[in-house]
């Protein structure tokens, strides 16, 4: 765990905007708390809601060095990343509620959220499923000479998926402008990382494939941002990279999981690795903000995120008429509903 001196040393950091990073993290934290509330109020679409509380530094720190036009994919625990890339929390929450006003018109939900405008090529309910897409996006960026990068965010559990290694190999071979960001929250559902692999120093694998690779302590959002800055700059020049952000999953895997498989002491220690609290302390310590200012900011964020729930509840589910839409492109005929087909057949018979 980073010690107080680290905070001090960090005050000399030139390229990070800690107030801004704090704000982003605090918005994520609060948004996720509201997602939990949406579920408790029975207003979420299902219970497959994976909160990124404890991992805010990965999202805020890394995304601080992404640009407009950069693309990315996320995993099932990707709300924070999307927010950090500029998502509208109302449309996000509406999607999580399965409402038509959501980013994906209520068809995708928490695990299938995307926005092409913001370069979000999609969250994924398949562990590792979104990773190879950044290879293609990286090829496209190079092909079109955009200078943009493509980033895959995923959990430590995805290191079990072979497609990660296939993708890393391609990125290194083709020197693509790609970054792999592994958010190591120590768990894949109930499995602790050391129960899923014999060598939990995950970045060594990336290194063996020829990528620039390192691990950073997710307690310190500035450290994440600094690593991101370095790796992103390299990636833009064709040196793909792999970054592990070490953190702790504060709560259960999904909304209903109470984490019976880990003990209270571990959880308590784990939750001390709180990047939001750490950043807040650093802001105060370094005199970058005073308590009153931060309280005001927090209150403003609370209000913003409270509103997402009201917004979502007020929205409607997608009408049944949209069910057959978007299976294929709009100019193509929609698939024939079973009911229509049956009626046609039996009318004929």
């Amino acid at each position: 765990m980073t010690k107080p001196e680290a905070i001090h040393a960090a005050s000399a950091r030139p390229n990070t905007d800690l107030p801004q990073l704090y704000r982003t993290m605090r918005r994520i934290r609060t948004f996720e708390e509201r997602v939990g509330e949406l579920f408790v109020r029975g207003q979420s679409a299902g219970s497959m809601l994976h909160l990124s509380i404890g991992e805010e530094s990965a999202a805020a720190g890394f995304c601080a060095h992404m640009q407009d036009g950069d693309t990315f994919t996320t995993h099932h625990r990707g709300h924070g990343i999307f927010l950090a890339r500029g998502a509208d929390p109302n449309r996000m929450m509406a999607e999580i509620g399965g409402k038509e006003a959501g980013y994906c018109r209520g068809k995708g939900g928490s695990m299938h959220i995307a926005d092409m405008g913001l370069g979000h090529l999609g969250a994924n309910a398949i562990v590792g499923g979104g990773i190879p897409a950044i290879i293609g996006a990286g090829l496209a960026a190079r092909h079109h000479g955009t200078g943009k990068i493509s980033v895959a965010f995923f959990g430590d559990g995805a290191t079990g998926q072979g497609i990660l290694y296939e993708s890393m190999n391609m990125a290194a071979l083709w020197r693509l402008p790609c970054v792999f960001v592994c958010i190591n929250n120590q768990y894949g559902m109930g499995t602790r990382i050391d129960q899923a692999t014999a060598n939990a120093v995950l970045h060594e694998r990336a290194h063996a494939f020829g990528l620039a690779a390192e691990t950073v302590d997710g307690l310190d959002v500035e450290a994440v941002a600094e690593a991101a800055e370095r790796l992103v700059a390299g990636a833009r020049e064709g040196r793909p990279a792999f970054l592990v952000v070490d953190c702790y999953r504060f709560y259960g895997h999904a909304r209903k999981d109470k984490s019976p498989y880990r003990d209270a002491t571990e959880e308590e220690t784990g939750r001390r690795k709180d990047p939001v609290a750490f950043a807040r302390a650093a802001l105060l310590e370094r005199g970058l903000a005073d308590a009153a200012e931060l309280d005001a900011l927090d209150a403003q964020i609370d209000a913003e995120m409270d509103a997402t729930i009201d917004f979502t509840i007020a929205q409607t589910e997608p009408p049944l008429s949209t069910m057959f839409r978007d299976v294929y492109a709009p100019e193509e005929p929609e698939p024939e509903p079973v009911r229509t087909r049956i009626d046609r057949i039996l009318a004929r018979a």
Partner: protein, 331 residues
């Protein structure tokens, strides 16, 4: 033995326990099957009785999980590989379809692959397009793979028990919406044989062939039809490979009308096979075309209304049956 009230989940769990007690070569491997007890709690606390060497928590590596089960089966174990969602079968189709299914044949009969792939599918939890599918048609279309899909608590127990004695790979697909379903069962009563379908209800007007969760919707519809004076025979396939076509033929020849109901996507799905086969074999007895009531040809939404609308339900089954009989009555 005694009658007892069991859930579908408990019956599956009991089948695993009984098989593991009986045969020390039965092992379970999959994500979260051990300490966590299974994403749907089917393997809850099994690790306590059988230990981590027989209830093996794996990394999130579906292709290798299935591949490892293939090797384990060839090397003398009786692995149960759990795939948390049937939706993940896509990444395992090489190990399943090119290896497990073909090894006996390619190697000239030297060895089989007596493994069970346990998984669950279907809609019902707003789990979205990648966690709600019914992908049994991929399996049914792959020669060499057996396919069991229990609809009842009793079958959950017995089919899994039997699957664990079969010489060939069995894909065993549970339905996520059935885990909490209860039934009063006597697990010691002689079960229907493996590969035999169950006639859940007999009626002269119409045969409805179905399996898994849709059985319950069909039974619900059949009850309502009965108040209309329409009596349906309901056949629950239990196993799709082997497929007990004799029972279907016998009843369809008698009734002259058939419907098939499946949650899997209609096009080139299970319902297509059943419809084609019934038509081929019972053509001269059919008064009407076999009607397919199946999953829509679309992905599944997270929105509850759209999710529910994507697969057959009691109302659609009921209306279709009415129309099927009404069409002729009117004509």
């Amino acid at each position: 033995m005694a009658l007892q009230e069991l859930t579908y989940r408990d019956a599956l769990r009991q089948a695993l326990i009984d098989s593991m007690r009986e045969n020390p070569d039965v092992i379970i491997m999959g994500e979260e099957v051990g300490r966590y007890g299974g994403a749907y709690a089917v393997t809850k606390e099994l690790i306590k009785e059988f230990g981590a060497e027989r209830v093996i928590d794996t990394p999130i590596s579906e292709p290798a999980i299935i591949g490892a089960a293939v090797g384990a089966a060839m090397a003398g174990l009786r692995p149960v590989a759990e795939l948390m969602y049937v939706d993940f079968i896509g990444m395992t189709m090489d190990q399943l379809g090119n290896q497990a299914a073909k090894i006996r044949y390619m190697f000239g009969g030297q060895i089989g692959v007596p493994m069970v792939l346990r998984t669950q599918g279907g809609t019902g939890r707003s789990a979205g397009a990648q966690h709600s599918q019914s992908l049994e048609a991929y399996v049914m279309h792959t020669p060499g793979l057996r396919l069991a899909m229990p609809a009842t608590v009793s079958d959950a127990y017995h089919l899994l028990r039997m699957a664990l004695t079969k010489p060939d790979p069995v894909v065993f697909i549970e339905h996520k919406a059935l885990y909490t379903m209860k039934e009063t069962v006597d697990l010691d009563a002689e079960p229907l044989a493996w590969g035999k379908s169950a006639v859940r209800r007999e009626g002269k007007d119409l045969v409805i062939v179905t399996y898994s969760r849709q059985l319950h919707y069909v039974m619900e519809a059949a009850k309502k039809l009965s108040t209309d004076g329409i009596e349906a025979t309901v056949i629950d396939l239990r196993t799709l490979n082997p497929l007990d076509f004799d029972t279907i033929r016998e009843h369809v020849e008698r009734a002259g009308r058939a419907m098939v109901v499946s949650e899997s996507v209609m096009t080139a799905g299970v319902a297509a096979e059943l419809s084609a086969r019934i038509t081929e074999e019972c053509f001269d007895y059919l008064e009407d075309p076999v009607v397919r009531v199946a999953g829509e040809d679309i992905p599944i939404s997270v929105s509850t209304a759209l999710e529910t609308g994507s697969v057959p339900g009691p109302q659609l089954i009921l209306e279709t049956a009415r129309k099927l009989l009404g069409a002729r009555v009117a004509a």
